[in-house]
Symmetry: C2
Subunit: 258 residues, 2 copies
């Protein structure tokens, strides 16, 4: 496309899962606008933990909430992936050149990526074949100071704008809560398991109910090829990911069994 329209700024899609009023989204938009035209489509409400969920039983509504030079912004009455798919299919003037998601309020490290609406948006971006990057910050409050994220966010966006990020994978970027990151490590997601997952309580009518909670226990806490190891040491991490979960290397051995 660069040869056809060399002057056109990149069209940068931005989604998230914390909803359109989240500080992390605003911070990311503030940086991204310096690199291109921004199109936001974000859930109308908080949608944490929604993974790649789709809304199938009710229709979606889209509400335009900002439109100015270089920025168009909708919120959508569905999940993060609904918001992204509807934007690309019906709301955007053309396919985005870059897909960003976040900045999530809280980590999507280890196997949390599978539950992450932030990453759901990124996987959708990867299906479009464009550079797709999710950002998550290791603080869980409503109004974190995201400023230590800025150098990492800029670096990733600059690589994407320059066409230097391979698009056969997408990117899960986690940034630790700190004044300044020590550096950036490209690593694998740390395998592990959630334990003590539910807090069981008794309601006023004597019935049990269960709140999701839990602790993540990495299988190999000392493995320096994994994200948790470096996040705990003040480094940002980049995990290259693929939406397709096929275990290609296992196909021939399984074929012999079945």
């Amino acid at each position: 496309m660069a040869t056809e329209e060399p002057q056109r700024k990149p069209l940068i899609f931005i989604g998230n899962d914390d909803g359109y009023q989240a500080d992390g989204l605003k911070f990311l938009v503030g940086i991204a606008r310096q690199y291109g035209e921004v199109f936001i489509s974000s859930p109308s409400t908080h949608q944490s933990g929604k993974s790649s969920a789709l809304t199938v039983d009710v229709p979606l509504h889209a509400t335009l909430f900002a439109e100015e030079e270089g920025l168009t912004a909708y919120h959508v009455s569905g999940t993060p992936v609904d918001s992204m798919k509807l934007a690309v299919s019906n709301l955007m003037p053309r396919r985005p050149d870059i897909v960003l998601s976040g900045i999530n309020h809280g980590y999507n490290s280890g196997n949390s990526a599978i539950y992450s609406g932030t990453m759901g948006v990124v996987f959708e971006g990867s299906f479009l074949g464009v550079p797709s990057i999710g950002f998550s910050y290791g603080e869980y409050t409503a109004h974190p100071d995201f400023s230590s994220c800025e150098p990492v966010v800029r670096r990733m966006i600059e690589l994407a704008v320059a066409g230097k990020l391979p698009t056969d994978v997408c990117y899960n970027v986690n940034i630790p809560k700190c004044r300044q990151v020590e550096g950036v490590k490209v690593v694998a997601a740390a395998p592990g398991r959630w334990t003590e997952e539910y807090d069981c309580r008794i309601d006023p009518h004597g019935r049990k109910y269960y709140w999701l909670t839990g602790n993540y226990v990495p299988s190999e806490p000392d493995n320096d090829q994994q994200d948790l190891y470096w996040l705990q040491r003040g480094y940002a991490t980049v995990v290259p990911c693929r939406a397709d979960q096929t275990a290609h290397s296992a196909i021939s051995a399984i074929s012999e069994l079945i």
Copy 2:
């Protein structure tokens, strides 16, 4: 465990995403009970397209709806993955030996696996390190005849019970609608894209709303190493999968960029 308690029947967890009253669940349970003790934990309501979504903002309720020799069954007021996690964490007498999910009413082939609650349950099973298999049938009606699924379901359960299924991967099994499957192929998920995704309508108040719809267009329709190719030709397909989406082979090249 076999050396400690050689007589104990395997404990087979069964979940799904169509809800606890779905015919596909009942069909799968009917077969699985011939191989072990069955524990069902299934969503209270239809939960198609919920991927690995978690319920974080409201607590869950679990309702026992069947308890007899060799069978315990709950339905849970959440997503497929909520139902599975809560069962393993708080409802089951011990960790399951095998995890099954389905039979889904409709395919989870191609990249649909990423949106599938059926596969969400299976990925949870893989985190436990036990054989985990999702079954999906290519018919979308409420009351399909699942009988052509039986040989494939039995084969997979028998391999799992015999300890012959590798547990570093999990299994996405799709079965075409037909009188008798032609055979079983172990293949990759067919990459592709959804097109024409939303049907835009106007409500009585003049506002637009959007229904999810769409067609899946495989990138390589003639590739016989992919699931869609064989499903269209009457074969069942088994796609070995990994929950972890890290693109390990891309790490070193990306490291040099960042």
